[in-house]
């Protein structure tokens, strides 16, 4: 088994796609230990899941929102609401991301679509690039916390936890996350004397609200739909896509079929990358289960660390370290099936555990060298990567504090799902 892990790590650092490293070690194991006939069945079984179907639709709806210009309206609404606080556009940036996260399930869609508008606006107002890029990247992490959320769908599918409960469990952490970032921006703005906008009139607020209202309705449709039993999370994702499509064509009238092809292309490529990774890791999951690796790790944790809080801290430390070098989705897929049973055995609610893990992974997308969100922001904002990597550091601190809060106070996550029972 040691040679299994050793060859896997060698392949991982040799720039081979993660999917293939996983597949190759697994088939070598199956060829030498028997059971290779199962490989084909396992790889299909990995994606043959109805819950996972929500993933392509949430990617689709996020891309549609960006293509139809709904993001512009959200940005304008956010500007009317919080633009007058010291730090001006910094707060607008964070607040707009929070609103947009209710429509998109990934940090990429947020950083890529809304981020472009945000950075442009901040640049025109004379904010320095590092500051605006760092705010854009760090505020985009609420995307997967606020429902809908792609990582939480995947977590729910592999850990057999209700996706609906996970979704509303993410709401308070998302708000806390935005709030902590706003405090930081306020402090920085006071120190550097950034300019602010005059307070907008009530009428301006109302106009921008009405303009953005149909888009702001999306998260409510999702949550209400799931909990009233009208549709499953997967269907909610499809309905969200349809809603975005209809809004773009009939209400905002900004959508063309030329855009549709690009949207489909982007959607499919993200879908396939995540889907193929899920498929590959399900083969590896079979190998690990046969070698009883999860049980061995569980036994280790339970004999050495009996305390749930210590366990959570240890897991989070491990994930933070892994998150700096490995892509986050891969970590979730690899680590969750092993750790969830242990967490449950130690008396940690799987919903709490899921939100904490996803939050942790979102810090992972901000930490160089493998910070996916930083890559996206550097690309769309045309900001040099080293500058961004340096400016992001102060923004990780408030997020880290929120993570610790979530670990020590499970009620922050579990309060809202508890109400729904």
């Amino acid at each position: 088994m040691w040679s299994f892990f050793f060859s896997w790590i060698v392949m991982l650092i040799s720039s081979m796609p993660i999917t293939f490293t996983v597949l190759i070690v697994s088939i070598v194991y199956l060829l030498t230990h028997g059971g290779i006939m199962l490989a084909s069945q396992r790889i299909v079984a990995g994606v043959n899941s109805y819950t996972l179907l929500a993933v392509p639709f949430f990617i689709f709806s996020g891309n549609l929102m960006n293509a139809t210009g709904i993001t512009d309206r959200i940005f304008r609404f956010a500007k009317a609401m919080v633009g007058h606080i010291p730090g001006g556009l910094g707060h607008v940036n964070i607040f707009a991301s929070l609103l947009f996260s209710g429509m998109s399930g990934s940090a990429h869609a947020d950083a890529g679509g809304l981020g472009k508008i945000e950075i442009q606006a901040m640049r025109e107002e004379g904010y320095d690039d590092g500051f605006s890029g760092a705010i854009t990247a760090s505020s985009s992490v609420v995307g997967p916390l606020m429902p809908p959320s792609i990582p939480l769908v995947i977590y729910g599918a592999i850990a057999s936890v209700s996706v609906g409960r996970l979704f509303i469990g993410g709401i308070i952490p998302a708000i806390l996350c935005s709030f902590s970032l706003m405090i930081l921006v306020y402090i920085i703005a006071k120190k550097r004397n950034y300019k602010t906008y005059p307070r907008t009139s009530l009428k301006e607020k109302a106009v921008s609200f009405i303009d953005a209202f149909p888009a702001l309705l999306t998260p409510i449709i999702i949550i209400a739909g799931i909990f009233s039993g009208i549709f499953t999370p997967t269907e909610a994702a499809a309905v969200t896509s349809l809603y975005a499509l209809l809004l773009g064509i009939f209400y905002y009238k900004t959508f063309t079929f030329k855009k549709l092809r690009q949207v489909l292309k982007d959607t499919l490529s993200s879908t396939v990358v995540i889907g193929f990774l899920t498929a590959a890791i399900s083969v590896m999951g079979y190998v690990l289960a046969r070698e009883q690796i999860p049980q061995k790790i569980a036994a280790f944790f339970i004999t050495h660390i009996g305390n749930p809080i210590v366990f959570l801290l240890a897991v989070n430390l491990l994930l933070l370290v892994l998150g700096t070098v490995i892509e986050t989705m891969a970590i979730i897929l690899l680590v969750v099936p092993i750790l969830v049973p242990i967490a449950v055995q130690l008396g940690i609610d799987p919903v709490h555990f899921g939100v904490v893990v996803v939050f942790n992974m979102m810090i992972g997308i901000l930490t160089p060298p493998m910070g996916v969100s930083l890559f996206v922001v550097a690309k769309v904002g045309d900001i040099p990567f080293p500058l961004l990597a340096k400016s992001i550091i102060p923004f990780i601190i408030p997020l880290f504090c929120v993570l610790l809060l979530l670990i020590f106070i499970p009620q922050l996550v579990l309060f809202l799902p508890g109400l729904m029972r």
Partner: protein, 169 residues
């Protein structure tokens, strides 16, 4: 080059299959919800049972047909920060090795994917009128397409290289 042009055309075909599957998937899920809505369910006595299974199958198709396209575009994520630091020659050897191992992996999946079809042909899903072979056929097809893409990238890596070195001499 004629060969390259033909190759590019096959990419469009793949994309078309994927987009068709996705649109079909979208419609399938919407049909499923549509017939459940109260005003419709009260008047039309029809409950589609096939939608759930069909949508899962379509998702599998999308993933396996699309992954070769992603190989072509280099979208599968890997960790390249270590390899980037290697000297040029060594880096090239490592990257070629990686390609060869990946191709070998594809070959294994094609062989055992085909063997698995024999078993799958005897199993039937709950609601669809086809045997499971139609689902598992994506494994050999998908990996075959990936193999072609990998081979093409592998050859392309050496082609322009040999030309420029000839020009220098």
């Amino acid at each position: 080059m004629k060969f390259v042009r033909f190759y590019k055309k096959t990419l469009i075909l793949e994309e078309a299959v994927e987009i068709a599957c996705f649109i079909l998937l979208f419609l399938t899920v919407l049909i499923q919800i549509f017939f459940r809505l109260k005003p419709i369910a009260m008047n039309i006595d029809y409950a589609p049972v096939w939608t759930e299974e069909l949508s899962r199958w379509l998702y599998v198709y999308i993933v396996f047909f699309g992954s070769s396209l992603c190989i072509h575009n280099g979208e599968h994520i890997g960790i390249d920060i270590f390899v980037e630091k290697l000297p040029y020659k060594l880096k090239k050897i490592v990257l070629s090795l990686v390609d060869i191992i990946m191709m070998a992996c594809c070959v294994v999946f094609i062989i055992y994917g085909l063997k698995n079809m024999v078993f799958a042909a005897r199993q039937y899903p709950m609601t669809l009128p086809f045997s499971n072979a139609y689902l598992y056929v994506v494994v050999p097809i998908g990996f075959f397409l990936m193999l072609i893409r990998l081979l093409f990238i592998f050859i392309m890596k050496f082609l322009p290289e040999s030309k420029t070195s000839e020009g220098n001499e």
